[in-house]
């Protein structure tokens, strides 16, 4: 018994010597955001933003920059520039410059995925322009640009219009068959950071951008929405400016796949949207049931039009960001699916969109 206790004590005392994996909070440089850009040659320009812990410090963050061949190598370069131990366990945001995003991102995403201290919920965003410059720029009154972008995207994602893409979603969609990756795009808008649209990927390369005003249509086609807000502009369809603003939007999408006689696939996309009208600038009286139904019909037509246009563009760029491939895969045997190159087949698919809008109520006072 005494020997056992002595042994345990020895173990406790000796093993304390091994505790070099201590990471005491105040001695860490916790990278909040990493921005990656294409540099000269095949090199990477890595910019990291680290919050400054000292409450009396004038600057709230520290920007470190290095030109290296890999992200992890950059960490070594950074730690030579700072008195803190560089760790990536508190990373929240990965920004990619558009140059890099158009050349392919997977290898950079993969390094992050393989780092066990990086969480799966790190956000992944494409920057229209140089990511490093955006991160290094000051955007008053926001003391920390990295944090500002993170919160901006979080808020946008909650409003349903622009999806926030996490590391997990990126790798899931990238590795899955029959769906392509999407990511939000931000740009430096002078004093502010602006969300400018959605980047659609083919594989790991950005091939297409959906502008913000079509974000809603894209979101309706991609999945189900809850508690969103939506403004639908009827101007394009009926020729005169008319806007309907919905609140408490819930939408459902349904996808049906048929095989046509010539062997091509036909995808029927059903979108149904419900919401209460918050604002309406047209001339109809919503009180009249007939008028309301007409408005609903016009809205549906407008959504159908825009959706089909959007999907046609996507087909041209060969990016299936809406995930139709998954429904097609469900119709096929494994062999037949494997034999088919979906990326090449997708442009041939005939897509038919049917939208159904329902005005739940109107005349709400805020």
């Amino acid at each position: 018994m005494v020997n056992k206790i002595a042994g345990m004590l020895m173990l406790v005392l000796l093993l304390t010597g091994c505790s070099t994996d201590q990471r005491i909070l105040d001695k860490l440089g916790m990278v909040q955001t990493i921005a990656l850009d294409q540099a000269d040659g095949d090199k990477l320009l890595v910019t990291a933003s680290i919050p400054v812990i000292d409450p009396n410090a004038e600057l709230k963050r520290e920007i470190l920059q290095a030109e290296t061949n890999s992200v992890k190598e950059a960490r070594l370069v950074f730690s030579r520039q700072t008195d803190l131990r560089m760790v990536s366990g508190q990373m929240r945001e990965l920004l990619f410059g558009i140059d890099l995003a158009e050349k392919g991102l997977w290898k950079y995403v993969e390094t992050q995925l393989r780092d066990p201290s990086v969480g799966f919920s790190v956000k992944l965003t494409v920057v229209d322009g140089k990511a490093g410059e955006l991160l290094a720029a000051e955007h008053k009154p926001h003391a920390d640009t990295g944090r500002y972008i993170t919160h901006l995207l979080e808020k946008e994602a909650a409003g349903n219009n622009i999806p926030a893409t996490t590391l997990y979603e990126f790798s899931r969609d990238y590795n899955d068959d029959g769906i392509d990756v999407i990511a939000p795009i931000v740009a430096d808008g002078g004093s502010k950071v602006r969300v400018t649209g959605i980047a659609l990927f083919a594989g790991d390369r950005v091939v297409m951008r959906v502008p913000v005003k079509e974000g809603l249509i894209f979101a309706l086609c991609r999945g189900n929405l809850k508690r969103g807000e939506a403004a639908i502009n009827l101007g394009d369809t009926i020729g005169k400016p008319e806007v309907v603003v919905f609140s408490s939007v819930t939408s459902k999408r349904k996808v049906k796949v048929h095989r046509m006689q010539d062997g091509r696939f036909k995808v029927d996309l059903y979108v149904s949207l419900q919401g209460s009208v918050l604002d309406y600038t047209g001339e109809r009286t919503l009180r009249e049931e007939k008028d309301r139904h007409e408005l609903e019909k016009e809205l549906s037509l407008s959504i159908e039009d825009k959706a089909e246009q959007l999907i046609r563009q996507m087909q041209q760029k060969k990016t299936d960001a809406l995930g139709f491939g998954q429904y097609v895969r469900g119709r096929l045997s494994y062999k037949a699916w494997k034999a088919m190159d979906w990326r090449e087949t997708f442009p041939e698919v005939e897509v038919d969109c049917r939208a159904k809008v329902k005005i739940k109520d109107y005349g709400k006072y805020m």
Binding site: Q22, L25, D26, L28, P51, R92, G119
Partner: protein, 473 residues
């Protein structure tokens, strides 16, 4: 043995009590009688009524013989009995060549007052005092049944302290009663001064940090334990009663759970279990997270936490141990001092040390919060012995968390759970109703269900009569 055969005489008894200045001897020359007693162990009124008045009224020796034939006078023949009799509050009457003892025991005792350590808000406020007979009377007053049995033993080779085992026939399990009685009789030590001390002699594993019998100074708690089939041990000169067998979870229930509405009782019980977790792990978690697992900190908290740690010169373990130690110092100082000075200590400790330590950069704000809430949580646990044990264990957990982080925290918790599993109370598992699983008991352990659902006595007591209440429908 040799003493017993010695001739019993006044001279002999006086010789036995030589140099005992507190011994009183009185002489009645008319009837040739002597009485010997300790004035402070006898009840004065009884002494006058039963001994002094009758003896002074006598004129002749013949009448004395007649008086001594009355049943309150017990004839003794050996000197050992006479000595014990006098020590236990008797008066020895020496007449001619016979010796009689009369019991007029009634020492000075504190009157029944409120409990300081186990006060409750609603419910009876009386508490046990230092006299076992008064304590038994407090129980008898609550349980008016001839089935309430009292076994008398005595412990302490020198002190010969009275110990009473109380149980209710047909509800308590006699095997437990016998076991407990044997354990009490087996104790060989010079003196036992308190129930808490006695309970350690009776425990299954004396080296454990956890108390294995429930000690209380509340008669309402004790009688409810008796009625649920447990056995009660009272020891003279101590207000602490022991009830056995006990389970770990019993220490987290308080008697006012039953005096208040069941919803409130249930909520309070849950609060105490949360307090258990907080007091054991909160500071340790702080240490583990700030030393090893910075990844775990939510974004909103990260800067606050890092800023508060910013100026602290020590690693988090030392910081935490320092503050925990300070709190223990304060607590101990407060316990030793009179109430009025104790308040000053609280203010000095709370404001001066807490505030100043942070401003001086010795500790972080958040650590102060975590240490303070662990300390408060430990006081939520109703049983003082249990809460003290948990506070001691906390130090071990903090040290392990400082060495191995969350891994150490988990190891510490695992060791505690394993240790708890190995404990037993009077041979019954300490972790009933969790291990072994007794689902039926849960509604009176983790929650306090309405009385209409509390139909049975706890299974741990192995009572021959498990039905507490017939189902009324």
């Amino acid at each position: 043995m040799a003493e017993q055969h010695e001739r019993l005489s006044l001279e002999h008894i006086l010789h036995e009590f030589e140099d005992c200045a507190d011994l009183t001897r009185r002489n009645f020359p008319e009837i040739g009688a002597d009485i010997v007693y300790f004035s402070h162990t006898v009840d004065n009124l009884l002494l006058i009524n039963q001994v002094l008045d009758p003896l002074s009224a006598l004129q002749r020796k013949k009448e004395l013989e007649q008086l001594l034939r009355e049943s309150q006078f017990v004839r003794v023949t050996d000197s050992k009995t006479a000595v014990t009799g006098i020590l236990e509050g008797g008066v020895a009457v020496f007449a001619a060549d016979t010796v009689h003892l009369i019991d007029v025991y009634g020492p000075e005792a504190r009157s029944v007052s409120e409990s300081e350590t186990e006060s409750i808000i609603a419910g009876p406020h009386d508490a046990f005092v230092e006299s076992a007979t008064t304590n038994i009377s407090l129980i008898r007053r609550r349980i008016r049944s001839s089935h309430l049995k009292v076994i008398h033993c005595s412990v302490g080779e020198i002190s010969k302290t009275d110990v009473y085992i109380l149980y209710i026939k047909d509800i308590a399990n006699l095997a437990y009663v016998q076991d407990l009685q044997q354990r009490i009789e087996r104790i060989e030590t010079d003196a036992i001064n308190d129930g808490g001390m006695l309970s350690q002699y009776l425990e299954d594993k004396q080296t454990s940090v956890f108390p294995q019998f429930l000690t209380t100074e509340r008669p309402d708690v004790s009688s409810s334990k008796l009625v649920s089939g447990k056995i009660l041990v009272l020891i003279d000169n101590s207000p602490t009663s022991i009830s056995a067998p006990a389970s770990f979870f019993e220490f987290f229930s308080s008697s006012d759970d039953y005096y208040e509405r069941w919803v409130l009782g249930t909520a309070l019980r849950l609060v105490r279990y949360v307090a258990l977790i907080i007091t054991l792990t909160f500071t340790a978690l702080y240490v583990a997270v700030t030393t090893f697992h910075y990844e775990m900190i939510p974004e909103a908290l990260l800067l606050t936490l890092a800023e508060s740690r910013n100026r602290v010169p020590f690693p988090p373990v030392y910081e935490a141990l320092l503050m925990e130690f300070t709190i223990e110092l304060l607590r101990e100082a407060g316990a030793r001092l009179p109430t009025k000075v104790g308040q000053t200590i609280g203010i000095v400790g709370g404001i001066v040390i807490g505030q100043a330590a942070v401003q001086a950069g010795l500790t972080s704000n958040i650590l102060i919060i975590s240490v303070a809430s662990s300390a408060i949580a430990s006081f939520v646990i109703p049983n003082y012995l249990m809460s003290a044990s948990l506070r001691v264990i906390r130090f071990g957990i903090i040290i392990l968390a400082g060495i191995w982080g969350n891994m150490g925290l988990v190891i510490a918790i695992a060791v505690i759970v394993i240790h708890l599993c190995s404990l037993s109370s009077l041979g019954a598992s300490y972790l009933v109703p969790v291990a072994p699983m007794r689902g039926r008991d849960w509604k009176d352990v983790f929650i306090r269900a309405p009385f209409s659902l509390l139909l049975t006595r706890p299974t741990q007591n192995r009572t021959p009569n498990p039905i507490r209440q017939k189902n009324r429908k």
